[in-house]
């Protein structure tokens, strides 16, 4: 039952040394998802130039896995175009972290939701239609 027992060295690295932490006052898109009742709240911010995500930052309240997945998704998204970024799935975040304990996979889903929400916020500000969420595969 110990959550840490299932944490990979990659997760621990991103927990102890998270990338891209902090606020982004000039963000072009902000996504805030989660709920403290379930344990995690993630806020993801993107800086976009010509539909390319030039920078991403996050702030997270949550467990080790929540912090690590936030950190990893900001790394994955930097330099991607909007079209590429919307295709990033929670599974890619899990794989990049070399796996998550089953009870913590929901953190990667939250990271994906935060990214999508930030992208839609960017699109909305530009007066463009939001991107529909593709149907997620049934079981992680």
């Amino acid at each position: 039952m110990n959550p840490q027992a299932g944490y990979s060295p990659e997760v621990m690295d991103h927990f102890y040394h998270p990338r891209n932490v902090g606020a982004m006052p000039e963000a072009d898109g902000v996504g805030k998802v989660g709920n403290p009742v379930c344990g995690d709240v993630m806020q993801l911010m993107i800086k976009v130039n010509d539909d390319v995500i030039e920078d991403a930052k996050f702030q997270t309240f949550g467990c080790g896995a929540a912090i690590a997945t936030s950190s990893m998704i900001t790394e994955l998204v930097k330099g991607k175009t909007i079209d590429e970024a919307v295709k990033i799935s929670n599974r890619q975040v899990v794989d990049a972290l070399k796996g998550l304990p089953p009870a913590k996979v929901h953190c990667s889903v939250l990271a994906e939701d935060a990214l999508r929400s930030a992208i839609n916020d960017y699109l909305q500000r530009a007066g463009r239609p939001p991107i529909e969420k593709p149907p997620r595969e049934k079981k992680e």
Binding site: M1, N2, M12, P36, G39, C63, G64, A103
Partner: protein, 399 residues
């Protein structure tokens, strides 16, 4: 992460304790040479039997009980199950109502939930903001259908000591037996079953520097139980299975030592705990105290570090070689905030940020500076990541 190269500062004694050398020494012959099954008639069997009965005397003496009323079990959770299900099944024709509290150990709460699925009705009495159960609320919940009241003696997460004596007095007047899980109380506060007035008391060895895998249930004579494990006449027919001789011997020795050292333990661990609390409060802002200021185990300190989640603090301290816990060890890994914190009225964010420091006989004042500096560093780091963090308002400064 700590790989055993750092000296570990262990602050998780409410989860479990190391086996004391004296206890290990007492157990050793029964792990090897004296291998007899205590039910066997030969010399080695009789030696095992004698050792078990001596251990029974020691455990009984530690709680002011008669040794014939001690039933050895496999753990505290089993003792809780035996008490709650044992009384419920035995009395089901008489009534199907049970009263317990909202802050019990899962071994009681989940057993009650199981009984609810099997025709019983359970009242979960609330607690106040310090985690205290009101004896009046328990008394008011008693109905003619009530067959058992189960309220813990001391809470594992916040250390709040419940008024079990008052509850037992009210229950006796109504003829309802009272069970109390005293796993966390044993060896930390005085425990005398006659003074307490409860009818069933759960004990465990591994919280008092004894081995894991052995518990006990004290049962007042005349209280009838349905056994959970059938298959032999061991433990008066209430717990079948070859006795864990070495474990029971270790439990006996640990209980004897705990009772003998109780006063000096309580004074020393209490001073260290209070000093730790003062220094944490002085070093870190926006920390919430969880529990009861006076009615509290001397070794337990539970604090919420606002704006951050507990697991991150646990991992951060672990990397500095310090072992603490979030909520209870049994529920870490689940996503819900601690049921104890929520019952005490904490917001989900504060409940998620709760950290339990549970000290033991080996902790020293000299360890406090390194604990506090590692904690401060971890909390500040996690707050810098948290979207909720706001500086405290000071000197007219606004956030």
């Amino acid at each position: 992460m700590n790989q055993g190269d750092l000296p570990f500062i262990y602050l998780d004694h409410n989860a479990t304790t190391p086996v004391r050398p004296e206890v290990e020494e007492a157990m050793l012959p029964y792990q090897g040479r004296i291998c007899g099954n205590a039910s066997s008639l030969h010399t080695l069997g009789r030696q095992s039997r004698q050792a078990i009965e001596e251990a029974r005397d020691r455990v009984a003496s530690a709680i002011g009980a008669g040794s014939e009323d001690i039933i050895f079990t496999g753990c505290g959770s089993e003792s809780d199950n035996l008490a709650v299900k044992g009384v419920a099944w035995k009395n089901r024709s008489r009534g199907t109502h049970i009263i317990t509290s909202r802050v019990e150990h899962p071994a009681v709460i989940e057993t009650c939930r199981y009984l609810e699925k099997n025709g019983f009705r359970v009242t979960y009495v609330p607690v106040d903001e310090a985690g205290l159960v009101s004896p009046d609320a328990v008394a008011e919940a008693i109905t003619p259908e009530t067959v058992l009241i189960s309220v813990m003696l001391a809470n594992n997460e916040v250390g709040t000591i419940q008024p079990v004596g008052e509850i037992a007095a009210a229950a006796r007047a109504r003829g309802v037996p009272v069970h109390t899980d005293a796993v966390q109380a044993l060896g930390k506060i005085p425990l005398d079953v006659e003074q307490l007035g409860a009818d069933l008391v759960t004990l465990s060895a591994h919280k008092i520097y004894g081995p894991k895998g052995v518990g006990a249930l004290w049962r007042r004579r005349g209280v009838k139980l349905e056994p959970l494990i059938h298959g032999g006449e061991h433990e008066k027919g209430l717990r079948a299975g070859t006795e864990n001789t070495a474990g029971i011997v270790g439990f006996g020795r640990a209980a004897e030592l705990a009772a003998a050292e109780l006063e000096q333990y309580a004074v020393r661990v209490g001073q260290t705990r209070d000093q730790l609390e003062q220094e944490i409060m002085a070093a870190i802002d926006q920390v919430r105290f969880n529990g009861h200021r006076e009615k509290r185990l001397p070794n337990t300190l539970n604090l919420s570090f606002e704006f951050v989640e507990g697991e991150g603090i646990l991992l951060g301290l672990d990397s500095a070689g310090i072992a603490v816990s979030t909520g209870s060890a049994c529920s870490s890994g689940s996503l819900e905030p601690s049921h104890v914190m929520l019952a005490m009225g904490l917001s989900p964010v504060d409940a998620q940020g709760a950290i339990r420091f549970s000290l033991g006989r080996d902790n020293r004042l000299e360890q406090i500076p390194s604990i506090v500096s590692a904690l401060k560093e971890t909390v500040e780091r996690l707050r810098s990541i948290s979207p909720f963090y706001r500086q405290p308002e000071e000197g007219g400064e606004k956030d």
